[in-house]
Symmetry: C2
Subunit: 101 residues, 2 copies
Amino acid sequence: MSDLARAYRYAVNVTPKPGILDPQGKAVERSLPHLGIDGVSGVRVGRRVEMVVAAADEAAARAVVDRLAGELLSNPLMELFEVEPLGEVGEAASADTGVRG
Amino acid sequence: MSDLARAYRYAVNVTPKPGILDPQGKAVERSLPHLGIDGVSGVRVGRRVEMVVAAADEAAARAVVDRLAGELLSNPLMELFEVEPLGEVGEAASADTGVRG
């Protein structure tokens, strides 16, 4: 327990690599005229995964998120990911009760 | 053309509302032990949509993104969205060639 004393929130933003076809983004662009929306281009649809990581310190938490993002949350052939720190949430135990799946 | 003289990048982050079941998030959590990853909880999987908006000024661009996020990119019954400004990219014409679908 003492090595998981702090908890941090992160988001992992996963987007299609430039040049990779993005059918969802194209579908959004094609529906814009029906909404009467003008001037929007370059739509890319990716994923955003938010989580709480309990760890000894921020560096340890960040290492866990980096591994998760690269090995499970993104496809390195087709996608880029970016880790976004969302701040410390306090004790690991209270963090667990604050965020529900 | 003169009323679409500037271009701004935005991301729209869409996440499941608190209390709404998130099967993808649960699937991620269940696969963590197989990766030997410990201490991760409260995983929520949403979408991230990035785009370029050409408009007369930032307020006009933001209004377009807010409408798009609420009417097309998110389901207001089950999801929350947050608009994240990513900065101005310059002339609308050059922005179009810089981001590909």
